[in-house]
């Protein structure tokens, strides 16, 4: 029961997915071929995990042979990235039918991903999704991983989301999206793709967790001492956060155990569904055990902008809802003391109309790290999900860039050639302008 289906779209989605499932396997003790570790030493662990056996079920499907297959679908319009998984370390973990690739990619073009190339693949994808959904006893919903800026990530995702809403109207859909980095841009037309996709997917998604490449890049560079962070290092950090967010879905924990709870706890209005994530502590592997972080330390760290995954300043906005998820060896007494001691408490401002403030939950399972990675293993970690109006800053930046290019109709012909119309651009831009206004309205007091 309560199964979650993950769909990874485009290069970003697939690479995050690869790291993600690797981490999940480490956390659940599943080997790269899908079999659970069964050594003597782990008998004790397994005994402890017996009552949480159901946790496997949410994300992994157990075959009769005892293999655990992830409930995931990897989709891309060109084969290179998926071939990486087909030949990679975890190739025997996935069923070949879960890895779907087309032949011609979307070339960073929303129109190609959505209309021309994407429309050829969509039916196959939906069929596979149906198959995976049938294996579930009680599907809760979908977790979509994708980037805003790429062609497949933006175009194909919006097409897919529309069709998913059509077929599975009552199921929750959560997104983990990579927001185009303000300073590190891989394609010039990212603002176009981002605005167009946000316009089309907003009404179909229930909650979107944004990850900003530049923020993560800075964390890797400054805190982990990585000179030129590659996608691999960035993804390893991102999946730690993803793992913390989904921890309650996979292990027994009290907070956010259902996908629907994320909505209820974090989303006050359907359109205001972009929470910001922060994570602490982030310690480099060669500084393991040098500094000890107490629960108070990591709680305070969460409110600092250097630990956030999106570049924005929460002190400039107001909070609407917030969740603190502790993981590891954390005692309720300490959490209460830590929160009471957080110095930043008084600078946190809430909107007037919101009665509840912070929700705090603890998950006993300690955070795991991937061997050979840059992060050190810590005993306690915290992940903060906050719906703050300050995130409108991110949208404003995007809209500004969109305007600059659109004013000159630059690069527009690539989209018009694939059958799009200028009207769609204007519509999308207006939608985002309305989103910004919505955020402003929320802040105003009555």
């Amino acid at each position: 029961m309560r199964e979650c289906l993950s769909i990874h779209i485009g290069q970003a989605g697939i690479q995050i997915g690869d790291a993600c499932w690797e981490l999940y396997c480490l956390e659940h003790g599943i080997q790269p071929n899908g079999v659970v570790l069964d050594s003597q030493q782990d008998q004790l662990e397994n005994a402890k995990m017996e009552h949480t056996n159901a946790s496997f079920d949410t994300f992994f499907c157990e075959t009769r042979a005892g293999k655990h297959v992830p409930r995931a679908l990897f989709v891309d319009l060109e084969p290179t990235v998926i071939d990486g998984i087909r030949t990679g370390q975890h190739r025997s973990l996935f069923h070949p039918e879960q890895l779907l690739s087309g032949k011609e990619d979307a070339a960073n073009n929303y129109a190609r991903g959505r209309y021309s190339v994407g429309s050829e693949v969509i039916d196959l994808v939906l069929e596979r999704t149906r198959k995976l959904a049938e294996q579930c006893g009680g599907l809760q919903g979908f977790l979509i991983f994708r980037s805003f800026g790429g062609g497949t990530g933006s175009g194909f995702t919006s097409l897919l989301m529309e069709r998913l809403t059509g077929e599975y109207s009552r199921k929750t859909k959560l997104e983990f999206s990579v927001y185009p980095a303000p300073r590190i841009s891989t394609a010039v037309v990212e603002p176009y793709n981002s605005v167009l996709t946000t316009h089309s997917t907003t009404e179909h998604t229930d909650c979107t967790f944004m990850v900003d490449n530049e923020a993560v890049y800075d964390i890797c560079h400054r805190k982990l001492g990585v000179e030129c962070p590659s996608h691999a290092s960035i993804n390893r950090l991102v999946v730690q956060v993803v793992s913390s967010i989904t921890a309650s879905l996979r292990f027994e924990g009290p907070l956010n155990v259902d996908l629907i709870e994320f909505q209820t706890n974090l989303v006050p209005y359907p359109r205001i569904h972009f929470p910001m994530t922060a994570f602490a502590p982030i310690v480099s592997a060669d500084k393991a055990y040098h500094e000890q972080f107490s629960v108070s330390d990591i709680t305070t760290a969460c409110f600092e902008s250097s630990n956030q995954l999106v570049k924005c300043d929460p002190r400039l906005g107001k909070y609407m809802a917030c969740c603190l998820l502790y993981r590891g060896d954390v005692v309720p007494k300490e959490v209460n003391a830590a929160i009471a001691a957080t110095k930043s408490r008084h600078s946190v401002q809430f909107v007037d109309w919101c009665p509840t403030g912070f929700k705090v939950g603890i998950n006993n399972r300690p955070p795991t790290v991937m061997p050979g990675g840059d992060l050190a293993k810590v005993h306690q970690s915290i992940c903060m999900l906050s719906n703050t109006t300050a995130i409108v800053e991110a949208w404003a930046r995007l809209d500004h860039k969109f305007d600059l290019m659109y004013a000159k109709r630059a690069f527009l012909h690539w989209y018009l050639r694939e059958g799009m119309e200028e009207a769609e651009f204007l519509e999308a831009r207006e939608d985002l302008a309305a989103l910004e206004r919505d955020y402003e309205e929320v802040v105003q007091s009555f």
Binding site: L44, K48, L224, G225, V226, E227, C228, P229, S230, A232, S233, G253, P254, L255, D286, A288, Y289, H290, Q292, S294, Y319, C322, G328, D329, V331, P332, K333, V335, N336, I339, A340, T342, R345, H346, V348, Q349, F350, C354, P355, T356, G357, F358, K359, V360, G361, I362, N364, P366, D374, H379, Q380
Partner: protein, 515 residues
């Protein structure tokens, strides 16, 4: 605390108002009545009494009842994890608020119930819980036998024996952290076989010496990771029977460690990662005869520290299995104009390196780096006697020590060609002029002139110049040129509108004028 003091109070660790200290004196101090404790604070700035002449640091006299001697391990665990069965009112503390909104805790009751089952505890953290002793014998083993990881940092443990008493009772103990405890280590041999399952031992900031380290780890046959940060360690001897299984050794922030001591730990057979950040190492020297620096897939973590010479990286090249290196933030790479250049130089200096500063070195990058290195030092190589022909190649000793990989690079990519090594001339006008000789084949008495003319000059203008010189009308002049590279061939410069460049006139050519 009772006022009666016994002699065994001396040497114990205590806590007073958050500050940790060691007891050095117990007794009466006339003329004031009553018992006093003389303590030495950890923090040298605390404390006022100079009268304690046995101490070097700050000390004070304190009444025994003001001092916390700590609790035993089991009590500390119960304090932290067990659900208190006290009256309900005690637990209804004031509601914590953030931003004027109450904080809602979800599911804390079930967590507390779960954690209360001490026998199920596997990971335990008792940092700063004032643990000073193991408590009654066997108590810990009975209550929480399944503990695998215990963090006892910043407590009041006073000796290694006390630590052993605790660890002894935990058969499955894998990770033990006793950092920030000022421990007294035994001078004789230690009880062996007690920590057989221990894999990770953390002894940061405990004031331990190298000899004591070797004695303590004698009881940990399967030790894989050893952390010894900030202990002022000076490696005095080579470990013979111990530390043979250690994969990771953290010696950062030990300023007394210098390069001469590295040799003593270089022979540890399983050592994979060596962390030497913030130590006294400023240069490296490994003896050449490959006496097996037998580290497998070693990773060196070296930042931030002072690398002052590029020869440092040449020394690292001598380690046959070094695959990863971290050395950000050291003065050598800061001096360089770009970190990028420094990175390329390091990559080229150490051939087998696969990861630098936690970024993988792709084959493309390595190729680029090595080609750059070869080009950058090409002129030096030539001056030191390098030559394409292996017979004529006689490099000076100096060059070979400074650039040990250069020969190898020449073999791999070929010796650098002359045209590669030509330094770019700055783009000034005088560098663009062609120096030409002007000869008059029919008038042998005229002197041969030498003139500098720009290559873009048209033949018409050249004729004009010559006519003014020779006092001959332009229309009578016939120009051709001859190149010393192709003697005997004369090329006519017939089209007046074309330039000298068009006819490929080069530096050193000879213009022939006839009329």
């Amino acid at each position: 605390m009772s006022d009666t003091l016994t002699a065994d109070v001396i040497g114990r660790r205590v806590e007073v108002n958050g500050e940790h200290a060691t007891v050095h004196f117990a007794g009466v101090v006339p003329p004031v009545a009553g018992p006093w404790l003389g303590v030495e604070w950890d923090n040298p700035e605390r404390g006022t009494t100079e009268g304690l002449c046995i101490l070097n640091a700050g000390g004070s006299f304190i009444r025994p009842n003001k001092v916390n001697f700590g609790t035993d391990f089991l009590t500390a665990i119960k304090n932290r994890y067990v659900l208190e069965d006290g009256p309900e009112e005690d637990r209804k503390e004031q509601i914590v608020t953030i931003g004027n909104k109450p904080v809602e805790t979800i599911g804390f009751d079930s967590i507390m119930k779960q954690q209360s089952q001490l026998s199920k505890l596997q990971e335990v953290s008792l940092r700063n819980c004032a643990v000073s002793c193991a408590g009654e014998k066997g108590g810990v083993a009975e209550a929480c036998p399944n503990i695998r990881k215990v963090d006892l940092s910043k407590n009041l443990l006073s000796s290694w024996d006390e630590v052993i008493h605790i660890a002894d009772q935990l058969r499955h103990l894998e990770v033990l952290n006793v950092s920030e405890n000022k421990l007294k280590f035994p001078s004789g041999s230690v009880l062996t076989g007690t920590l057989s399952a221990l894999k990770v031992l953390v002894l940061n900031q405990t004031g331990i010496t190298w000899a004591e380290v070797l004695r303590c780890v004698a009881g940990c046959p399967g030790l894989e990771e050893l952390y010894l940060e900030s202990n002022n360690i000076f490696i005095s001897e080579r470990p013979t029977d111990v530390l043979q299984t250690v994969k990771l050794l953290d010696l950062s922030s030990n300023q007394l460690i210098d390069e001469n001591q590295l040799y003593l730990i270089a022979h540890l057979p399983r050592l994979e990662q060596l962390i030497l950040s913030d130590t006294g190492i400023s240069s490296l020297h490994f003896p050449d005869a490959g006496i097996g620096i037998s580290m497998k897939h070693t990773a060196f973590h070296l930042f931030p520290f002072a690398v002052f010479q590029w020869s440092f990286f040449n020394e690292l090249e001598k380690l046959p299995s070094l695959r990863a290196l971290s050395c950000l933030r050291n003065p050598l790479t800061k001096e360089d104009k770009e970190a990028e250049t420094a990175r390329l130089l390091i990559i080229a200096s150490i051939g087998r390196l696969k990861t630098l500063n936690k970024c993988e070195i792709l084959p493309e990058e390595r190729r680029r780096a090595e080609l750059d290195y070869r080009k950058a030092f090409g002129n030096e190589w030539k001056q030191a006697g390098g030559h394409k022909d292996p017979e004529k190649n006689r490099l000076s000793e100096e060059f070979l020590t400074a650039h040990p990989r250069y020969q190898f690079l020449c073999l791999k990519y070929g010796a650098p060609e002359d045209w590669e090594l030509k330094t770019q001339q700055p783009l000034m006008l005088k560098n663009q002029l062609l120096t030409l000789k002007i000869k008059y084949p029919h008038q042998l008495d005229q002197k041969v002139l030498e003139k500098q003319l720009p290559g873009s000059m048209t033949i018409q203008k050249v004729k004009g110049l010559l006519s003014r010189l020779l006092k001959v009308p332009v229309s009578d002049l016939l120009l051709s040129y001859e190149s010393p590279k192709k003697p005997g061939r004369e090329i006519e410069l017939e089209n007046d509108l074309k330039s000298l460049q068009f006819y490929s006139v080069e530096n050193g050519d000879c213009l022939l004028v006839r009329w």
